[in-house]
Symmetry: C2
Subunit: 237 residues, 2 copies
C-alpha cells in the first residue's frame, strides 16, 4: 500500500455517496458530467449489501467514466468491482474496534484475497462530536488544533499512514485547524464536512489536498456540487 | 521513519535490559565483549528516570561500543542520548491508550523535538496472557496463529508498520506461530520470550529476523547470553 502510487494523490474534489440515501439515475448521470475526480461510496448507518450493490450498479451504468472507490465500513457490503477501497482507521476512536479490531477481523477472514494494491488507509480524525460517526466510534474529539496535529503526526510518523481525513461530517470546520495539520505534516490531507458553496470549497481546497462533498448533494442538489467542482478546478495551477 | 534505513534491519541478536532489575558493572563490561548487536532498554514496571539514567550512564562507561536503544514506555524516562528509540504500539491492546493514546500525548508534548529519523515503531503482538505487559495493556491475546497473522498483516498493510515484535515475555513461544507470521508478511520480525539456551536461540533466530534475550541474563547469567549470541552468529551466512 503506497498512497504515492494511488489515484488519491491526484484527486482534488471527491463526491461521497451514501448508499442509505436516495439519488436518482439522472443525478448520477449529471455527476458523471461535472468532472469531480472520483466517487467515494461510504456512510455510517444503514449500509447493506443490497443498497450498496444497487448504487454501484447504477453508477457504472449512468456515470461509467467516474472512478468509484468504496470506503469499507462493513465487510458484508464489500463490492468486488470497486476501483479501489478506502479503509478508515478512526484515529481518535474511543475503543480499539474502530482503530484496529474490525480490520483484524476482516483481514483474518479475507486476508488472502484483499487486493492491497487497490487499498488506501484513511486515517480519520473525527472533529464533529455531534456526527453519527463520532457517536458510533465513541470518538474523543480533539479540543485543540494542537491535539488534532498530534493525532495526524502520530498517524504519519508512528503508524505509516499517508492519508489523513479531517472529518467534520455535516458541519463546516475551522480552516485554521486544517491549516495547522497541513503545516505540521507531510500527509495527503483530505477535508470533509459542510462544503455547500463555491466559497467554502475554495477555502478548504486551498489548504487541503482533497475536499469531499457529501451532504450538499442530497440537501441542495447537483448545482451546488457543480459549483464546488468548478471552484476547486479554478484553483488548479 | 523507515525501518530500511535503520540499524534494526541488521540486528540478529539483541539484549533487553530492564532498568528495574539489578545488573553489575562487570556484567555490562562482559556484555560489551560478547558481540550482541544492540542493547534495548525497556521494561514494563517500575521504570523511573533515575533508574534508566543510571543504567544508560553505566552502559556508556562499561560497554561504550554497544548501540543503546531505548524502548519508550513512559515519556518521563526518555534518555536524550540514546542512539535511537523504539516506540511500542500494542496492536492487541484492550484499550486505545497503548495503541495510540499515549503516543498522541507524547507527540503533543514533544512533537517538535522528537528525532523521527532515530525512531522505529515496534508493532507488538503480545502472546503471553500471564505477562505483566499483557495485564497492563489488557491485551486480547490471539487464540490462533491465524489471528496473530491477521494482526501482523493489518499492522503492515493498513498501518505502515514495518517491525513486528512477537512478545512472549518470559515464556518460550510456539515456533509454528512465529513461522506463520514470517511466511505471511514482509515485516522485520522480532521474537522475544523465554530464550535461555543456544537451542532456543537457534530455533527462533532461524525464523525471525531478530531475537531478543532478556530474562535469561538476570536469571541465568551472562554465560547463557554469550551462548545465544554464538548460536545466532553461527546461523549467519
Amino acid at each position: 500500500m503506497s498512497a504515492g502510487k494511488l489515484p488519491w494523490t491526484s484527486w482534488r474534489h471527491v463526491v461521497k455517496l451514501d448508499p442509505d440515501r436516495a439519488i436518482a439515475n439522472h443525478q448520477l448521470e449529471e455527476l458523471g458530467r461535472i468532472a469531480t475526480d472520483a466517487v467515494l461510496i461510504g456512510g455510517t448507518q444503514g449500509i447493506t449489501f443490497e443498497k450498496t450493490a444497487d448504487l454501484m450498479r447504477r453508477l457504472r451504468i449512468f456515470a461509467p467514466s467516474l472512478p468509484v472507490w468504496q470506503e469499507i465500513s462493513d465487510q458484508s457490503a464489500v463490492m468486488p468491482d470497486a476501483d479501489g477501497y478506502g479503509i478508515p482507521v478512526a484515529l481518535n476512536a474511543g475503543n480499539t474496534d474502530w482503530l484496529i479490531g474490525k480490520h483484524v477481523e476482516a483481514v483474518e477472514q479475507f486476508g488472502r484475497i484483499i487486493p492491497w494494491e487497490r487499498v488506501v488507509t484513511e486515517g480519520y480524525i473525527i472533529l464533529n462530536p455531534d456526527a453519527a460517526v463520532a457517536k458510533l466510534t465513541q470518538s474523543a474529539v480533539p479540543q485543540s488544533s494542537e491535539k488534532a496535529v498530534a493525532y495526524a503526526t502520530a498517524a504519519e510518523q508512528i503508524f505509516g499512514i499517508r492519508v489523513i481525513y479531517l472529518e467534520y461530517s455535516g458541519k463546516y470546520g475551522d480552516p485554521d485547524w486544517v491549516r495547522a495539520v497541513r503545516q505540521n505534516t507531510n500527509v495527503h490531507l483530505v477535508y470533509g464536512g459542510g462544503i455547500d458553496s463555491a466559497e467554502k470549497a475554495v477555502e478548504m481546497a486551498d489548504i487541503a489536498d482533497t475536499i469531499v462533498v457529501g451532504n450538499a448533494l442530497y440537501e441542495k442538489g447537483m448545482d451546488v456540487v457543480r459549483e464546488t467542482v468548478r471552484a476547486v478546478h479554478s484553483l488548479r495551477k
